[in-house]
Amino acid sequence: MKRILTWSLGLALLAAAPAFAQKKATVENVPEMTYTAVPNFLKLPPGEYLGESVAVATNSKGHVFVFHRSANTRLFEFDQAGNFLKEIGSGYYGFEFAHAVRVDKDDNIWTVDEGTNMVTKFSPDGKVLMVLGRRPPAVAGAVPFPSGPNAPAQKYILCRPTDVGWDPQGNIFISDGYCNNRVVKYDKNGRFVTQVGSEKVGKAMGEFNLPHGLQVDGEGHVWVADRGNNRYQVFDNDLKPIREITNLGTAWTACISSGPHQYAFLSNSNPNGNMPGTWDTTGEIYKTELDGTVLGKFGHPGKLPPGFQVVHTLDCRNPNELVLGEIESWRVQKFVFKPTTPAKSASAKSAGAGAN
């Protein structure tokens, strides 16, 4: 009886505790950035809805792609003014549970789906060009949720991958994921090059506890939001660790802006499941130089705009016009920042040309 009681208590505690406790950022004296929110940015046709809007990205024309969890996971394209254009990938094999969408320098659209373990490269007009990973075969039927240690990571099989990015040469980097704890580098043709991390959770440099977001800067350095370890790790192009950033709270997602002067945007998103007071200590997004110097922060959790609820990805092609995708509140918001220096306005002008 005692054992049963202990067991149920353990279960209750487990159920109540958030999967990853949120962490208050320790950085101090960060200036607040002021912004205006674009009201009702995305206009949906009658009968169409967004679900959990976990992923958002823009292309060189400013079109906005939203990869969201509806009854089915769906990918919508909007024009730069937020008017609905079309759906891409309706019923597609690699869509089950959205996690990320990114647009490469050639305007190809890449989706990362953690319900199928597939990363898909679509052409700008929505044709499948390449797939990475494989959806578990349905013929195996429904199997019990695996327990115990993660299975060994494989070169070409992903395990609930989370994000994708490219270096200037077109090499592909994937953060993988919820049941591996690694970043994989493939060449532009999809061949395995190297990886950092493994299936195992770890805390040392080059190890991960849920690599949740990833982007690559113009130098080919790979930025990884190591969410469970409350840090960002930066790697060189061969995935050798360079440094970590540990004072910006829980690392949910990273974005690197375009143009000759790049900035990083790093989100200490509020968690799914808030305690009283959580909104007071989390939810802000930081803007930094690529050397880690924190320039400013903005934003607060809130159910109503311009508050946000669990920012999952943000697009920063133009560092003065951010588009944010939220899990809770099923919403995409656009924030406009006043350029503060001539340098920034210059990079904003050339935003369309660079990699994102």
């Binding site: 089915n72 079309k86 990938g89 309706s90 019923g91 597609y92 094999y93 690699g94 089950e96 199928t116 929505g126 044709k127 499948v128 390449m130 797939v131 494989r134 959806r135 075969p137 349905a138 013929v139 195996a140 039927g141 429904a142 199997v143 019990p144 060994p152 494989q154 070169k155 070409y156 099989i157 043709n189 999809g190 061949r191 395995f192 990886q195 493994s198 080059g206």
Partner: protein, 342 residues
């Protein structure tokens, strides 16, 4: 990190070890025709398990489009959907979908066209072989879908010889002899060949799991020659086994790697194409397709595993109605390639 290095090293050694596949077969030059199939905006191919052409050159694709659903009724889980059958004209223009929402379509295994242009569909999850007429209406069914599916899935057991009834367990392919007798490759859970007469009457089956003559690791693909001999791709044993029309073992051909997809050309001096398909979790090994004579003489090989055009991602189907213009269906790359051999 050390473990990872060791694992990668071990993987590299395995990849570099000599396989049964022929390394010295001459290379056949070939090209991949761009945009061989033009898909409408709202249709996407999933894993392409089957591709076949009919006598007019129309192309049929049986593909795992995903999203099978389970619904509850009388406290039992019922499963539906997950695969679709598309038809394209000889230029690759989309014509229509056949068998939309069919009870028998869940996990595509193969599509083949018989000499009368009937369309035969093999499904690995509903365990059915379906014969559609050229207009797309059902003519005959072999096997039966399970009424409901176990949740969680049950592990399969048995020696692979079947119950032994006319019910299948993960069938993979179908072929016919000149008299119209039907041979079903059965399959990935069973390991046997089942023979029916042209009206679907169950005659016999042969084979079980094993490595001896007439035994199979799995039965992945099947073809029948003009004399009625039956060629069976025994992929897991890295060989093709040849039987007479009654299932008596005649010979076996090795040197073709993991034989997964078979196609026999038509005419007086037919060839056999067989794919040494790469495993879905690795594109750094295998992938080439062999061309051989029916007596096992190797003619040549082409291609390798990968994601680019002229590379293959786990080929599961080859159509060779025209001996030098092939269609290959790929599981790994969600596509059909049209290949022209020179």
């Amino acid at each position: 990190m050390k473990n990872l290095k060791q694992a990668l090293l071990a993987a590299a050694l395995i990849a570099g070890a000599p396989l049964y596949a022929q390394k010295d077969a001459p290379e056949i030059k070939f090209d991949s025709v761009p945009n061989a199939l033009q898909l409408p905006a709202n249709i996407y191919l999933g894993e392409v398990a089957g591709v076949a052409t009919n006598s007019r050159g129309n192309i049929f694709v049986y593909t795992r489009t995903g999203h099978p659903t389970v619904t509850l009724g009388t406290a039992r889980p019922f499963a539906h959907g997950g695969s679709r059958l598309f038809e394209f004209d000889p230029a690759g223009k989309y014509v229509r979908e056949i068998g939309k929402d069919s009870y028998g379509f869940m996990y595509a295994s193969q599509v083949r066209i018989d000499p009368a242009d009937n369309i035969w569909v093999v499904d690995q999850m509903t365990n059915m072989v379906m014969k559609f007429n050229p207009q797309g209406r059902l003519l005959m069914l072999l096997g039966r879908k399970a009424e409901n599916i176990p949740l969680p899935a049950r592990a399969t057991t048995g020696d692979g010889a079947g119950r032994p009834t006319d019910l299948f367990e993960r069938p993979t392919d179908v072929a016919w002899d000149a008299a119209g007798d039907i041979f079903v490759a059965d399959g990935l859970s069973n390991a046997r060949v089942a023979k029916f007469d042209k009206d679907g009457k169950f005659i016999k089956s042969w084979g079980k799991k094993g490595t001896g003559n007439g035994e199979f690791a799995n039965v992945r693909s099947i073809a029948v020659d003009a004399q009625g001999n039956v060629y069976v791709a025994d992929g897991g044993n890295k060989r093709i086994q040849v039987f007479d029309n009654d299932g008596n073992f005649k010979t076996a051909y090795t040197g073709v790697g993991n034989a997964q997809a078979l196609c026999m050309t038509k005419g007086t001096s037919p060839f056999l194409y067989v794919s040494n398909s790469n495993p879905p979790n690795d594109i750094d090994r295998d992938g080439e397709i062999y061309k051989m004579q029916l007596d096992g003489t190797m003619v040549g090989k082409f291609g390798r595993a990968g994601k680019l055009p002229k590379e293959f991602g786990t080929v599961n189907a080859i159509d060779c109605r025209n001996a030098n213009t092939l269609y290959v269906g790929e599981v790994g790359n969600l596509r059909v390639q049209k290949l022209v051999l020179h």
